[in-house]
C-alpha cells in the first residue's frame, strides 16, 4: 500500500469526495490563495497548510471558495449552504479562531436538527489544533473538549493519515455538523493509506496495542507518544491496552469500559486543558460505570491549567511527554 502523509491523505479525501458528490463545496480563507494577487497564480497556497491544494483548478471557483477574513460569515455560510442542500467543508485555519464564530457553531449548527424537526445540516468544519510549534496562546489550543461538550455536533480527531482519510470521507457524508480537528504536528506523519474510497464510522475507537495490565487512552498527536511508551514498557513485561477513540463525540465508551474491566487500571493522555476536560470526562465515565473493576486511582496526563506559552522550553514543559506518560502508567501499576 502506498505511504502518504496526513496532509496528502486529507487532500486526497477532499479530491475524491468533491469528484464523487457535486454538492460538496470547500470554503475558507486562502483555500486556494492568490485571488487578486499580482502573480496571477490562483491556487497559490491551497490553504495555509496546503491541505486544499489542487482543488480550485479541478473544481472551479463555484465550489472552491476563497473568502475574506470573516469567520462568522464562513461558518454561517456553511450552515446556510448545508440547510439548503449542499455539503460544505469550511476551513478555520486555527481552531483558536472559533472564538470569532462560536455563535454559528454553538447556537446555530449544533441546534438546527433539534429545533427544526430533524433538519439536516451536513457541514464539516476543518481546523488545526494543538501546540508544538511555538505558535503561542492564540494559535495552539486544543478544542476537542470544549466542542465535545456541545450536544448536536460531532467531533473527530484523527491521529494518523489512514484514519484522517477515512474519517474525513465519513465526515463529509455524515448528515450532522462535524468538527474535524487536524493536529499541526501530524501533517507530515506518514503511514500506509489506500488510494481508493473507504470510511471509518464515528464512535468506534481503535485498539492500537493490546495488553492486560493497564488501559491507556490517548488522543490526536499523543497517540504516537503513548505508543512509544507502551512499546517500551512491553519490553519489560508491562502490557497495556492502548485506545485511540478517534472521535471524542460520539465517544466509544464501550471500548474503554471493556478494557478497564479487564485491566482495572486507567491512564488518560490528552492535550486539552485539565479542568472539565476530555481526560476528566473519561475518568468520570470509568468511575461511574466501572468503579468496581478499578484497582488504582485513575491517572491523567494533560497540560497544566494555563494558556499555551510561546518559548519552546515552556511549550515542552506544557505538553505531555513520554516521561510523564510512563510515570503515570507506573503509578497506577504501583497500586
Amino acid at each position: 500500500m502506498p505511504k502518504k502523509s496526513m496532509r496528502e491523505a486529507i487532500n486526497e479525501a477532499l479530491h475524491l469526495e468533491m469528484a464523487r458528490d457535486p454538492s460538496v463545496i470547500v470554503l475558507g480563507e486562502d483555500v486556494s490563495g492568490g485571488a487578486g494577487g499580482t502573480s496571477g497564480q490562483r491556487d497559490a497556497a491551497g490553504g495555509v497548510f496546503g491541505l486544499t491544494k489542487g482543488l480550485l483548478p479541478k473544481f472551479g471557483e463555484h465550489r472552491v471558495i476563497d473568502t475574506p477574513i470573516s469567520e462568522s460569515a464562513i461558518i454561517g455560510a456553511a450552515n446556510g449552504a448545508a440547510l439548503a442542500g449542499l455539503r460544505p467543508v469550511a476551513e478555520i485555519m486555527f481552531s483558536d479562531f472559533i472564538g470569532v464564530c462560536f455563535d454559528q457553531i454553538l447556537n446555530q449548527a449544533a441546534k438546527f436538527r433539534y429545533m427544526f424537526n430533524g433538519a439536516k445540516a451536513p457541514l464539516v468544519v476543518r481546523m488545526t489544533v494543538g501546540a508544538g510549534r511555538s505558535a503561542a496562546a492564540q494559535h495552539s489550543q486544543s478544542m476537542h473538549a470544549l466542542l465535545s461538550a456541545i450536544p448536536g455536533i460531532k467531533v473527530v480527531m484523527p491521529s494518523n493519515a489512514y484514519d484522517a482519510k477515512g474519517l474525513l470521507l465519513q465526515a463529509i457524508r455524515d448528515d450532522d455538523p462535524v468538527i474535524f480537528l487536524e493536529h499541526k504536528m501530524l501533517y507530515n506523519d506518514t503511514c500506509e493509506v489506500p488510494d481508493g474510497d473507504y470510511t471509518i464510522p464515528f464512535g468506534e475507537g481503535v485498539l492500537v496495542r493490546e495488553g492486560e495490565h493497564v488501559t491507556v487512552v490517548a488522543t490526536g498527536q499523543l497517540v504516537k507518544l503513548a505508543t512509544g511508551v507502551v512499546d517500551r514498557l512491553a519490553a519489560e513485561g508491562v502490557r497495556c491496552d492502548l485506545i485511540d477513540p478517534r472521535t471524542t463525540s460520539p465517544l466509544d465508551e464501550e471500548l474503554i469500559l471493556e478494557s478497564v474491566r479487564e485491566t482495572g487500571r486507567l491512564v488518560v493522555v490528552d492535550e486539552a486543558p485539565p479542568r472539565c476536560g476530555f481526560a476528566a470526562d473519561v475518568a468520570a465515565l470509568v468511575a461511574r460505570e466501572a468503579f468496581a473493576s478499578l484497582r488504582a486511582p485513575v491517572a491523567t496526563v494533560t497540560p497544566p491549567h494555563t494558556p499555551v506559552p510561546f518559548a519552546p522550553e515552556l511549550e515542552r514543559e506544557y505538553l505531555p511527554d513520554a516521561a510523564r506518560v510512563e510515570r503515570a502508567i507506573r503509578s497506577v501499576l504501583a497500586h
Binding site: G34, A35, G36, P68, S72, S134, A136, T306, P309, F310
Partner: protein, 342 residues
C-alpha cells in the same frame, strides 16, 4: 521614548528653533530614528529567523514604517494603541523597549512578555501599547474600550487601532466602528492597506469600491494618506486627532502601503509578481523618500541622518547580542501569570 533610545546621543540641532514641514528638528530626527529602527529591527529579525534562532510565527512590517511612525509620532504614553499580528513596527513606534522586544521574540525570560507571548503578542501597557494580537480584527473593539476609558478620564487622551485591509472585512471591526460612533469616542482607526491578506489580494477580499467608502458608511470621517510618506501620514493623523481629541468622536486615516517580506517568514509568495517588491523598494521606499526630502529642504543633514543610521545599527546589534545571551524561561515560569491569584 524608550530608555534605549534616550541614550542615543543625537547631534545637536544648529538652531533649536529650526522648523521644517511643521516639525522641529528633534521631531524630524525622532521620526527618522523610529522608522530606521523598525527597518533595522525587521531586517535583522528576518536574518535571525532564517538562522533558526527565532521560534514560532513571525510577520514582518518592513516597508510600512511610515504608517506606524507617522501615526504614533503624535501620541504620548498616555494615549493607547492596539496592534495586529504584524506588530513590531507599531510597538517600536509607540516606544516599546527594543531590546526587550528582541528578547521576547527570541523567547527569553526577561523579554518584554517574559517569553510567554513572542512576536505576535508583544505588549507594554505602561507605554500605552495594548498588545500585538494574533486574532485578526480583535484589536478594534478592545481599542473602543480604551477609548471609553479615555473619554471617562477626560484628559484629552485617545485610543488608536491599527487595521489591515484583510482585517477590515472582519465583523468585529464593523461593530467597533459603529459602537465608536454611537458612543462618540476619542478613537482613531488607522487603516493600513498593504495590498494583501495572507495570500489573497485586497482587490478580491474587499467587496465595495474601497475601504474609505466603507468607513465613511459608518459616519466616520477619513483622511487619506500616502503610506510611503511619513509626512503625509503625520499630517492626516494630526487632522484626525484634532477632531478626536476635542470631543468630535471617532476618526480614521487610510494609508496604502506594501509589505516587503512574505505574509509570514517562510512564505514562498507565489501570489506575488516577482518584481513587485523590488519596484516599490526602488521607487517608493519611505526611508529613501524621507532622506531625499531632508536633503532637498535642509531639514536634516546627510551627516545627521548617517549618524542616526549608525546609532540604530548599534542598538539593533546590541539587542540581538543581548537576546542571544539572555536567560531562557524556567519550568516554574509556566505557571506564573495565569491569574493574579487563584
Amino acid at each position: 521614548m524608550t530608555a534605549e533610545q534616550d541614550v542615543i546621543t543625537a547631534p545637536k540641532p544648529a538652531s533649536a528653533a529650526r522648523h521644517h514641514d511643521g516639525l522641529t528638528h528633534e521631531q524630524l530626527l525622532s521620526a527618522y530614528r523610529q522608522m530606521k529602527t523598525i527597518r533595522e529591527f525587521e531586517e535583522r529579525v528576518h536574518v535571525e529567523n532564517a538562522s533558526g534562532a527565532i521560534p514560532g510565527f513571525t510577520h514582518l512590517y518592513c516597508g510600512q514604517e511610515a504608517v506606524a511612525v507617522g501615526a504614533c509620532e503624535h501620541l504620548t504614553d498616555a494615549d493607547y494603541i492596539i496592534s495586529t499580528h504584524r506588530g513590531h513596527g507599531h510597538c517600536i513606534a509607540k516606544g516599546c523597549d527594543v531590546v526587550g522586544m528582541m528578547k521576547e521574540i527570541h523567547g527569553r525570560r526577561d523579554g518584554l512578555n517574559g517569553g510567554k507571548g513572542g512576536s505576535m503578542h508583544i505588549a507594554d501597557i505602561g507605554k500605552g501599547m495594548l498588545g500585538a494580537n494574533g486574532v485578526v480584527g480583535a484589536g478594534q473593539p478592545i481599542a473602543v474600550g480604551a477609548a471609553i476609558a479615555c473619554k471617562l478620564r477626560g484628559e484629552g487622551r485617545i485610543a488608536a487601532s491599527f487595521t489591515g485591509d484583510g482585517a477590515s472585512n472582519q465583523g468585529t471591526v464593523f461593530e467597533a466602528m459603529n459602537m465608536a460612533v454611537v458612543l462618540q469616542l476619542p478613537k482613531v482607526f488607522v487603516f493600513e492597506n498593504n495590498g494583501y491578506s495572507e495570500h489573497t489580494g485586497a482587490s478580491y477580499g474587499i467587496g465595495c469600491e474601497d475601504i474609505v467608502k466603507r468607513i465613511e458608511g459608518f459616519g466616520i470621517p477619513v483622511w487619506q494618506a500616502d503610506g510611503f510618506d511619513f509626512f503625509s501620514v503625520y499630517e492626516a493623523m494630526g487632522k484626525a486627532l484634532e477632531v478626536s481629541r476635542n470631543g468630535g468622536g471617532p476618526t480614521a486615516i487610510y494609508c496604502e502601503t506594501i509589505r516587503y517580506f512574505g505574509h509570514f517568514e517562510g512564505d514562498p509568495q507565489n501570489y506575488r509578481a516577482k518584481d513587485e517588491v523590488q519596484r516599490y523598494r526602488a521607487e517608493k521606499d519611505c526611508l529613501l523618500k524621507f532622506r531625499a526630502r531632508m536633503e532637498a529642504n535642509g531639514g536634516l543633514s546627510t551627516d545627521e541622518l548617517d549618524a542616526v543610521d549608525r546609532e540604530v545599527g548599534a542598538l539593533i546589534e546590541r539587542a540581538v547580542q543581548e537576546a542571544r545571551n539572555a536567560p531562557r524561561p524556567r519550568a516554574e515560569d509556566l505557571l506564573t501569570n495565569v491569574y493574579d491569584n487563584y
